[in-house]
């Protein structure tokens, strides 16, 4: 049974299923399950926005400063 203090917040079986997805989906789904059950929908939306913003920034940064493979 999940316990918000010590026990894992997401059922291990669900974590196992999630492992078949890419890093973004796996991490975000896990966060979504935890937040949806403890803090509600706005917290999920906020975390997702922050994650996408970070990814977008990382993408732009990679485009602005392409690595020199020569």
């Amino acid at each position: 049974m999940s316990n918000k203090n010590e026990a894992p917040a997401v059922n291990p079986l669900i974590i196992e299923y999630l492992s078949q997805y890419d890093d973004d989906i796996r991490d975000l789904c896990r966060i979504a399950i935890e937040l949806a059950n403890n803090q509600g929908i706005p917290a999920v939306a906020e975390q997702m926005s922050a994650h996408v913003k970070r990814r977008t920034r990382e993408g732009r940064s990679a485009n602005d400063n392409p690595k020199d493979h020569s």
Partner: protein, 683 residues
């Protein structure tokens, strides 16, 4: 959660200060069974009540039926009577327990006072002390926070599975629609299915929100597609909600029908009609399933039916070509272009002129008449081959369709006949001399009509849902096309795409998780049942199935549904097997740290079942508190329990001179039990 101690002060019939230490695996080796033994009226249920009150603040139990809370007295009445008027007396329940490295002590009070001859009781203050792993203590007095803390340790919805009274056990396997929904809720919560559902719902809302943001920042067409997706998703949500409502209403209608049948069975002269009706319903339903199979087969062959319409023509064409072919005219012996060249050049392939010889010329011209162009010949031969294949299969198609139509007709006729007999039975019951039976039958008929109408509604909604899903798929494709048209995928698009992928992932995981967890529950429950049933039970009951709504079904060795046929004792064993399976599934194979309370669980169980239960349950639960009467727990049972090596504590509930209960501890051994029983003149 491990319960260490239950302390009662002036609670119910427990006058004064009484302590029960609960055996736990970590404290007493493997000895995790506590037996609390008492005759009826000594307060076994009072201890169970104290646990429910202590943990959840609830002052009534399910078994109290309709007793209003205002009339429920938890403070020891004698203590109130002997205390001066208007002076408050407190009933205190204190429970000490551990969970996840923390030590908890919850204390709840009820306060009562006497005003003239009336006793007035009110809720008292509650206090939760939490000793944290770092050595600090946290005090919680606010009722809401306190309950949240307790609920985080033991969800109130799953307490049903750990705090059992004898009545409640039956509910797992024989429940009305409302109870079934409650059972399903508890299981979903216990197995974390709820958590996944919440996440799915949250992601749907988040996706809607992100889509709306994107819609504002996108092209007109893209915005239109997004808005249509949103609308379609809402329609899908509405359909799903309606389906749930219909299912709930159907369950209620089923309950109503079952209840009426039960009442009708009470009339001796109607009993046989009810039994016959149930048999007929089973037969009719079986034929309805056959009909549905025929329908499916027919729909698979319907595309070929058209072929049968052209059968005469196809046969005629095939026979015509076949005749020509048999005559050797197809393919022609000599190619037409060769004959034409011979005539044109007036020279045979052997070099002789042909036009001068009338006989030869006539023979060549005759050949020319009998030949056709090569392309036409080839086409004719292909057509012949094709028709040969079709004509040989048409007979098979016809046989298959005829067979299915016959089965369809036979099933339809049988169903009509069963319906006719059912109508007769309904009329016979309705016209019974017993007026109340007639009323009941009319009531049943209304419930059946409602059921039919709901089933029809359900089909319509399901079909709508399918349409909306197909529409959504098309729109999603369109959305992807529109998104690709955008020169740059901005943050809004990424957010929507990411949230959609997450929603899809959660949906897939949820489907897989719920399916697998139900299958796992069924396997575990079947195994536990196998361990607990006696030889006769094992012969009859072979497999447990967990239905979509988490209700249980059992099957006999022939694979027939058998729940309705099993005895009350077997039903109780099934409930316990299911609880053991739940505990195992919820803990992923480890021992679930939850105390299992059972108030008078042996009532309907025979010797073998009792023995099996005592062997199995201590292995499945961290703690087992057994509240048993002198007829349930006798020296035989004490011997069985002692042999398991799990017996950790033994308490007797004794009555003092004033009728109050005193808790007396004895060593958990057969010898101590026998000595005490002998001393008290127990059986």
């Amino acid at each position: 959660m491990i319960i260490r101690k239950i302390i009662l002060k002036d609670f119910r019939q427990f006058k004064g200060h009484q302590v029960i230490q609960v055996a736990a695996s970590d404290g007493d080796g493997d000895r995790n069974v506590t037996v609390i033994h008492g005759e009826n009226g000594r307060g076994k249920t009072g201890i169970y009540r104290a646990v429910v009150f202590g943990l959840f603040g609830e002052i009534t139990l399910n078994q109290d039926n309709d007793i209003p809370e205002a009339e429920m007295r938890l403070v020891n009445t004698e203590r109130v009577r002997e205390t001066p008027e208007r002076e408050a007396v407190e009933a205190i329940v204190e429970i000490e327990f551990d969970n996840a490295g923390r030590q908890y002590t919850i204390e709840r009070k009820r306060v009562a006072a006497r005003y003239q001859d009336k006793i007035v009781e009110d809720p008292g203050p509650s206090l939760l002390r939490i000793l944290l792993p770092d050595g600090n203590t946290r005090l919680v007095e606010d009722e809401k926070t306190l309950q949240e803390e307790i609920n985080s340790v033991l969800n109130p919805r799953v307490k049903e599975y750990y705090l059992f009274d004898g009545e409640r056990m039956d509910r797992l396997t024989r429940a009305g629609a409302t109870q079934r929904r409650e059972v399903a809720k508890g299981i979903r919560s216990l197995l974390d299915i709820d958590a996944l559902e919440h996440a799915k719902t949250a992601m749907e809302r988040v996706t809607e929100r992100f889509s709306a943001d994107l819609g504002k920042a996108s092209s007109v067409e893209y915005a239109r597609v997004l808005s249509e997706i949103e609308a379609t998703q809402k329609e899908i949500g509405r359909c799903k909600e309606r389906l749930q409502e219909i299912d709930a209403e159907l369950a209620l209608a089923d309950d109503e029908i079952t209840a009426v049948d039960k009442e009708l069975e009470a009339f001796q002269e109607i009993k046989e009609f009810v039994r016959r009706r149930n048999d007929l319903i089973k037969l009719r339903d079986q034929r309805a399933r056959d009909l549905s199979t025929c329908n499916l087969s027919l729909s698979n062959v319907v595309s070929r039916c058209g072929m049968l319409l052209v059968r005469p023509l196809a046969g005629k064409v095939y026979n015509t070509i076949e005749a020509v072919r048999r005559n050797g005219e197809l393919p022609a012996e000599i190619r037409r272009d060769l004959i034409e060249r011979v005539l044109q050049r007036d020279e045979c392939i052997c070099g002789r002129p042909v036009l001068g010889d009338e006989d030869v010329l006539a023979a060549v011209r005759s050949w020319l008449d009998r030949t056709t162009e090569e392309a036409i010949e080839d086409s004719a031969l292909r057509l012949w081959q094709h028709l040969a294949g079709i004509v040989s299969h048409l007979d098979d198609y016809e046989r298959e369709i005829e067979g299915n139509l016959q089965s369809f007709g036979s099933a339809s006729n049988d169903i009509a006949e069963y319906e006719r007999q059912l109508d007769e039975i309904a009329a016979a019951i309705g016209s019974s001399e017993r007026r109340d039976a007639g009323d009941l039958e009319a009531h049943r008929s209304n419930a059946m009509d409602k059921r039919l109408s709901l089933t029809a509604d359900r089909k319509i909604i399901e079909s709508k849902l399918q349409d909306f899903r197909a529409m959504l798929e098309q729109l999603q494709q369109k959305r992807e096309e529109e998104a690709a048209k955008q020169s740059k995928k901005d943050e809004y698009t990424s957010r929507v795409e990411m949230s959609r992928r997450m929603t899809d992932a959660l949906e897939r995981i949820s489907t897989r998780f719920t399916t697998e967890i139900r299958e796992r529950l069924a396997v575990l429950a079947s195994a536990a049942l196998e361990e607990m049933l006696d030889a006769a039970g094992k012969t009859n009951i072979c497999k447990v199935k967990v239905n979509d709504d988490y209700t249980l079904e059992v099957f006999n060795r022939f694979g027939d549904p058998w729940l309705a046929q099993i005895s009350a004792g077997q039903r109780q064993v099934l409930s316990i097997a299911f609880v053991a399976a739940l505990a195992e599934a919820a803990s992923n194979g480890r021992l679930l740290e939850m105390p299992l309370f059972m108030d008078t669980p042996f009532g309907r169980l025979g010797g073998t079942h009792r023995e099996n239960l005592m062997r199995l349950v201590p292995k499945k639960a961290a703690q087992w508190v057994l509240l048993a009467t002198d007829t349930e727990f006798r020296p035989e049972e004490a011997r069985m329990l002692e042999q398991t090596g799990r017996w950790g504590k033994l308490y007797f509930l004794e009555q003092d001179d004033q009728g109050n209960t005193v808790v007396e501890e004895r060593p958990p051994t057969l010898a101590a039990f026998q000595a005490f029983a002998k001393d008290r003149g127990l059986r």
